[in-house]
């Protein structure tokens, strides 16, 4: 159960990013989570709430986009999505392949932040 420490890293990262942007309030964090990342979505969601407690991110939301596993098939010479993570082979021709192209992602892609008007105006000028 390492989801709590992952959630704490996400909160920390979101806080740093919002500080870079003038300390704006973070409303939501968007995350890409690969099916091979070793992190469980449900556990991460409940850990996130705990990790936000008593931080500026308290009350913010975590949106998780799951990334399916994509491998490279040497026979088809093309990327392919595997149908199960218990069977690393090309779904078209059945060739086994260990080359994983996607599915290990654990990445904060975007933040929804509240920008206070005066700050936004300053930037525009």
């Amino acid at each position: 159960m390492h989801e709590l420490s992952i959630a704490m890293s996400i909160v920390e990262m979101a806080q740093e990013e919002s500080e870079c942007r003038g300390g704006a309030q973070v409303q939501a964090v968007h995350l890409r989570l690969g099916l091979l990342s070793g992190v469980v979505k449900e556990a991460l969601l409940s850990s996130y709430e705990m990790a936000c407690h008593a931080t500026p991110l308290e009350g913010s939301q975590l949106f998780i986009e799951e990334v399916p596993v994509e491998v490279f098939c040497p026979k088809c010479d093309a990327p392919r999505s595997v149908s199960s993570i218990q069977w690393f082979c090309c779904p078209e021709c059945g060739t086994p392949t260990p080359t994983v192209l996607h599915g290990k992602e654990l990445e904060v892609v975007a933040l929804e932040i509240n920008t206070l008007e005066p700050y936004a105006t300053e930037i525009e000028q």
Partner: protein
Amino acid sequence: MSAQPRLVEVRKNVLKQNDLIARALRERFREAGVLVVSLVSSPGSGKTAFLEKTLTRLHSRHKVAALVGDLATENDAARLARSQAPVKQIITGTVCHLEAAMVQNALSGWNLNELEFLFIENVGNLVCPSSYDLGEDLRFVLLSVTEGEDKPLKYPTIFNSADVAIITKSDLAAAVEFDEAAARRNIQAVRPGMEVFKLSSKTGEGMTEYLEFLERRRVRPRIDDLIANELHVVGE
């Protein structure tokens, strides 16, 4: 002062900090010419016995050392010290896995140039360690014959993240009616092409073959890196 929500792009790996430390470690290991092997498995699969035998047998010909991670107790380090190789315990407290920073801290005071092999025994856990790069050259996943042949299918993520599978406690295979062919099939399903060694730390069966593999691997890590890089480029 009304609030205006806005979406800003970040695109940052959550484990960036760990990955940066792991990358720096890997560079240090490469410069020092030390082959670094990490061991992952469920608790009780025989990691420590396997490591003790490995250290004892390599110690006569090579400079070897080990770091062992555990939630509590220094029992494993004391056990491994019998091999005469330098061993350091990493007590993780409540943390269920090793992180690159823990390895970095544990290495302080050690001169890597004096080493040829370094083993890192992770905490017994088949889930959490898969996410953390420790800067190792090879990750071994251990599976004992008493655990059942379908372990790779139950924990595909960690088996997929490993480079070599070690089937341990082979001396008990007959007693527990271990189906070796099924185990090998399941390993290949979750990680096609993975090298598999079957051995017994107790009787020594299969140890020589595996140790020869390690010695071969140490003298040619650079060639393997080149091949891996090429595969990566093709993959992209």
